[in-house]
């Protein structure tokens, strides 16, 4: 893995971001705005799965409304995250919270687009209380784990 991190660190993009005073803070701010959208949509869907929030709409209805917010937030975070990463790839390599974040991120994406998606696709699938509870609690733990890991990168 180390050669890949070294390569990222030496890319023109990484260097340009390090040389600029403004690109890093701007990418950070966009990363955080997208976090609000992504985690916000996860919270609203999880609340609904647990019987709170938008209760008067069906679970598939709420999931359909939120899907573009989740995806848009996620793609924006991946894009800005890649920029931030290139500018300090070697710092990330030595940073345990970064590895924790990447593992949690992989699991969160997988969990969301398999289990959560199939649970929220139809009224029948969403009828199981156990299943919706697992989807909601799993989502919250995984996505907030990603967020906490991300915040910890800077504190480590």
């Amino acid at each position: 893995m180390r050669p890949f991190f070294e390569w990222c660190d030496q890319t023109a993009v990484g260097e340009a971001i390090r040389d600029s005073r403004f690109i890093f803070p701007i990418a950070e701010s966009i990363h955080l705005l997208a976090l609000t959208v992504l985690l916000g949509s996860v919270v609203v869907l999880s609340l609904r799965l647990l019987g709170g929030g938008l209760r008067s709409q069906s679970i598939p209805d709420v999931a359909r409304t939120l899907a573009p917010l989740t995806l848009g937030g996620l793609l924006t975070m991946l894009g800005t995250g890649a920029l931030l990463f290139c500018s300090e790839a070697m710092k990330c390599y030595e940073n345990p919270p970064f590895w924790f974040k990447m593992e949690a991120l992989g699991l969160a994406i997988l969990f969301h687009y398999t289990f959560v998606r199939s649970t929220t696709r139809s009224e029948e699938a969403a009828a199981s209380r156990v299943r919706t509870a697992v989807a909601a609690v799993g989502s919250l733990l995984l996505w907030f784990g990603v967020g906490a890991g991300g915040r910890a990168i800077g504190f480590y």
């Binding site: 609000t36 919270v43 917010l69 967020g147």
Partner: protein, 163 residues
């Protein structure tokens, strides 16, 4: 006492010093402040998107508001408590930061926008509650809310840098 002296006194108090110098409290409070964005502004986003006529057009505005806004309020309570503690332990730095001032102004404007909506625009909600796309003044409140909260978040993040 000038405001700066009050800030200095505040961060020199026992609690301010304890938070600033602790290994765990500061990251935990700061981390909670960041992640509570999802509950506060993240949930409010759904309400603002409905106000602008972009999502859940087949649902009444009041119905969405009743179900979503209490969660946003809970989120803002968490933000206010953690934000106050963060200010407490670094009041002088915050006071001297241009971005903190921008954040406070944007916060006040967001509050005024919400207040104006509650006291005026909402009064006539029965006339447009079921409209897929609410009237201009309601859409403006939604767009202004999203823009102002984005400013609060971006300015808050930028406080960490010295420009």
């Amino acid at each position: 006492m000038s405001i700066l002296e009050i800030c200095q006194w505040l961060q020199d108090t026992e609690i301010g010093t304890a938070i600033r110098e602790s290994v765990w409290w500061f990251p935990i409070i700061e981390g909670t402040h960041v992640l509570a964005l999802a509950l506060s502004v993240g949930t409010l986003l759904v309400m603002d998107l409905r106000l602008t006529g972009l999502v859940m057009k087949d649902r009444r505005v009041s119905e969405i508001s009743k179900q979503i806004v209490p969660w946003s309020m809970a989120g803002f309570f968490v933000m206010f408590v953690t934000g106050s503690l963060l200010f407490w332990c670094q009041a002088v730095k915050a006071y001297g930061s241009l971005y903190f001032r921008i954040k406070v102004v944007a916060l006040l404007l967001a509050g005024l926008n919400a207040l104006f909506f509650e006291l005026r625009t909402r009064r006539g909600i029965s006339a447009w509650d079921s409209d897929p796309v609410p009237p201009l003044r309601a859409r403006l409140a939604g767009f202004a809310g999203m823009l102002l909260w984005a400013c609060v978040i971006a300015a808050g993040r930028t406080m960490a840098y010295n420009f």
